[in-house]
Symmetry: C2
Subunit: 458 residues, 2 copies
């Protein structure tokens, strides 16, 4: 029997996270405050605990993972690295396809990798309660899970339309003790204002972020902070355990060289987790194609300008230097809710500018085709987000077949799709659509962002 998965013992888990900021050819442009000047750590203190702010601005290459965080990660880590032998055979490709399986965590995705770390640092800092927002529900459930392990309160503002359409995600959060309310809510000033003006609004991630931040900073006890599940440097840092494990496992698989690294990108956390340790190799001269994949309908990396923009619709966050469609952009209703974000992590944007990674956009129908082929060969049903990485891996494997090359392709299987099966149902019934973004929309976004300072591109 030829092995299909490569596992590590708990004791072989990486003991440090890898910080890409230490190795960038140039530093990424800093976040800017309302006055146009770089923000200082103190300015973030009402929002995040200082120990996480220190990580956010750190340029130290390796950062120790606390023992207690490792103990929580051990609930589902080290995650296995699989070789997709059945898919290879079905495609008739000479490529060897590996995938890092992040679907085994209790909430079913990579999100808890940072949720348990963030909950831990908040608790260490004396925080009792964490607020956050969630769209499709992956992040809200990951943070509820992490807070349950540490005995912290967790408050999740869930975009109203998702709250109504996905009651199971709310139930999941509540099972872990999280409190989940539809956003906009009457609990915050931001929410009340919107509700007054648009009582029937379906809500948006931007509004939910505003409510979560407001509720954190307005708690006069000082015991509440806010938490974000992607985009920021410290979030991406916590995910690098994925790539660091994968490197050890590729050695076990006997692979000396990797040709292609792939991950799907919304804010960018799962892609970064796998890719950053390999980007370090590329900076040091290794030949690797590194491909972040986004939906054609929300083409931040492939078509949007690099600009300073807010992370949220309500303009509560600092200005971040990133590829962005503008914080007022509302992506089409594709099923990969986790990839419907108007911007992309500053660190990813910066590595695109340095030509270290090569973004690609794929249509939703091609992604579902790949996901169904996947489920019927490899077995696990992927999340709609994950299907974007799978579709790119299939493209690369077919290319290797055409070229007759024995390539080694590694991608991040970021989460399972058991909570998101309606997309498959629509796909089978022929009701799924692709969405192309008109160039006029890109032009309008570019123009709208011209009022902000321009970040340096290298």
């Amino acid at each position: 029997m030829e092995p299909i998965k490569f596992t590590l013992d708990e004791k072989d888990m990486p003991r440090q996270w890898y910080n890409l900021a230490a190795d960038l050819p140039t530093p990424a442009p800093p976040p800017l405050g309302p006055d146009g000047n770089p923000i200082t750590p103190d300015m973030l203190a009402p929002v995040f605990p200082m120990n996480l702010i220190e990580q956010e601005v750190s340029t130290q290459r390796w950062i120790d993972i606390p023992e207690k965080v490792l103990e929580m990660l051990a609930i589902w880590r080290p995650a296995p690295l699989y070789r997709a032998r059945r898919l290879e055979k079905a495609l008739g490709t000479p490529a060897r396809i590996y995938y890092k399986y992040e679907g085994g965590s209790p909430p079913g995705s990579h999100k808890p990798n940072t949720a348990v770390a963030q909950a831990y640092y908040n608790k260490e800092f004396g925080i009792k309660r964490i607020t956050t927002e969630t769209g499709a529900g992956q992040w809200g459930s990951a943070l509820s899970f992490a807070c349950a392990l540490l005995g912290l309160e967790c408050k999740v503002f869930m975009v109203r339309i998702s709250f109504e359409q996905k009651p199971f995600r709310r139930m999941m959060m509540e099972t872990w003790g999280g409190k989940c309310v539809p956003s906009p809510s009457p609990e915050t000033q931001a929410g009340r204002q919107i509700l007054e003006e648009y009582p029937d609004t379906p809500g948006s991630l931007g509004i939910a972020i505003s409510e979560a931040i407001e509720q954190a900073v307005m708690d006069t006890s000082g015991k509440t902070r806010y938490s974000l599940g992607s985009v920021l440097n410290h979030v991406l840092l916590h995910q690098t355990i994925i790539g660091l494990e994968a490197k050890k496992q590729l050695k076990l698989a006997g692979e000396k060289k990797v040709d292609t690294i792939i991950g799907c990108v919304g804010g960018g956390s799962n892609f970064s987790g796998l890719a950053f340790p390999f980007i370090a190799d590329k900076i040091n001269g290794a030949q690797i194609d590194i491909i972040p994949v986004e939906p054609t309908s929300c083409p931040t990396m492939t078509r949007a300008p690099y600009a300073y923009d807010h992370g949220d619709t309500a303009e509560m966050t600092p200005l971040l230097a990133m590829h962005s469609l503008g914080h007022k952009f509302v992506p089409p209703p594709i099923h990969a809710g986790g990839l419907r974000y108007h911007g992309v992590a500053p660190l990813i944007s910066h590595t695109i500018n340095h030509n270290l990674i090569t973004p690609r956009a794929i249509d939703q129908i091609e992604c579902y085709e790949a996901a169904v082929t996947w489920a019927r060969t490899e077995g696990f049903i992927p999340a709609p987000e994950t299907s974007h990485a799978i579709a790119a891996a299939v493209q690369e494997a077919k290319k290797a077949k055409e070229e007759g090359k024995e390539k080694v392709i590694v991608f991040n299987w970021s989460g399972h799709g058991l909570m998101d099966l309606t997309g498959y149902d629509k796909y089978f019934s022929g009701h799924l659509k692709n969405f192309a973004l008109p160039q006029d929309d890109i032009n309008a976004a570019t123009k709208a962002l011209e009022k902000y300072p321009r970040p340096a591109t290298a």
Copy 2:
């Protein structure tokens, strides 16, 4: 960091299944045909492929697992054995609690352990299409998954009320290529008859079994067979990989002796999978408490008579010697759909009669309490069925605390509850009820079964 899980390499997977029939103090009473005589293998040939019928009647102690079955099992096996350190701490118990985690398979439970084996033997025998029934959906999805891997057609008759209330289970089956129809259906004579008489019937497992068997035996090409997910000897055999792995892993954990083995029981497949290899030790003199757990509302093992009874409502199956509430019994609507079966596997019934195992019944609310404590300490959200095993483990751990004993408790964590969150929702909102079965119902069941032959009790 103290280890919380004990893992095996693919190459350390057990290569043989363990057959308890080889070690029973007396043989279990055989199934009887319509004439009251033991059935012969030939009589089952229209329903099952002969290679599985041979396993059904085998008394060989060890049966080789085919290489191709091992390759499919390797998608999620060996399954980890965890130590529930967080729960131990929360309970303040001196007991060491281990659980075998079967929630990591693509459909999320232990069911595919036999689904891949059954699909394999059917394919080897030249079968192209498998029919089955499903209640809550766990078994139908496991078989659809297995058939996808082997390129077999899979047809699932799903109890109508579940089909309507659990659309996600149907979508899961369809993603793997399974065809799922609500039962009763107009596709079979049994279905048409019921529909004519009761057009609004919610359906039942009994009707669905009848339809699945009818469609298999009526296929004149001879290329269709029927498959069952529990109760039968060969199904329980395939599950013993759970207990065989657990034994290796307990050694890794440094445990020389096990005090208590626990599993939940509907038909009995997951319990048997863990327990049978330990029952062998008990037959050979080991001191182990082995506890199958059922819901109070469906007390086959703790209150029902041992009798010959049909496995299905429509009386299509042979008479099986088992503890049974009668094949017309309709269990109360508890959330653990997989435990709502009127009988229990003949092999389990027989070991009860031999005092090798000690059944226990637990109320649904106590099970949900235990499940929530579990989710908030250990992390994974259990299926409602699994919560019965957890509740018994908690009872045993508390007893060990009272007695000040360092017991080793091992239970089977049979599946995750991500597809069954409505039960949690009802629990939190206070709408969950316990159901006690009146003694009159037991008496009526006992009386109704008196028309059949009496099986020997030892």
